[in-house]
Amino acid sequence: MSQHPEVTPPYKPMQLYDIRAFEVGQVYYIDDELISIPEADRTIHPRKTHHGRRVVIAHNNYLNTDPTWPLIHVAPLSHRVDLMRETDIEVTTDRKDGNAVTVNSIIMLSLVQPVLKVDLRECVGKLSRDKIVEMLSLQEEMLVGTLEPLEEE
């Protein structure tokens, strides 16, 4: 069990448990290769992986703080705001969006995926409450089928 992942993979069974209390909207660093981006990974030009990638805790449920539950769902961030799609949420460096990013970014909700809690490195910030609700609202729309395409200008 870990309070901070000084442990390195492959993990022993007890090292999978993490007693940190994760909360929706918190942004963490994670090794980029642990994040799957199929449209970039499965092409002939391999994706350039970075040292770390920011991810945001995407779901709001009690398992986030359950130390006996090793998994957590995260959405990766990207600085390519020019590629924003209808399943993305834009986060700016403006304080009204929280203190989660140092450059304007998008949260890619189509890439929400499970990772091990112990693989999450340090918490680097948190989205504002308004941004968290926008993220949850968009995920709800994606889930129930009321998502609307972004209009072209």
Partner: protein
Amino acid sequence: MLGLIKRKKHQLLEDEPDRKPMPKFTRQELQAARERNRQRKKRGTDSEYMANLFEEHRSLGILRRRASECRSTLK
């Protein structure tokens, strides 16, 4: 082994410090957020995207030229 993990889990739960309560959001907040999402910045056109790419390419021109000069000097 499974028994050990279960015991450890149980111990973890017992030792668990006071946890922060899970954030709660109201239906009204979600509805307002949905409206904000619908009103959000438009995506922009493909031509704007290409213009942006071209501008970035152009702004790196000086660096490219200097790197190229440097490389030819080293040869």
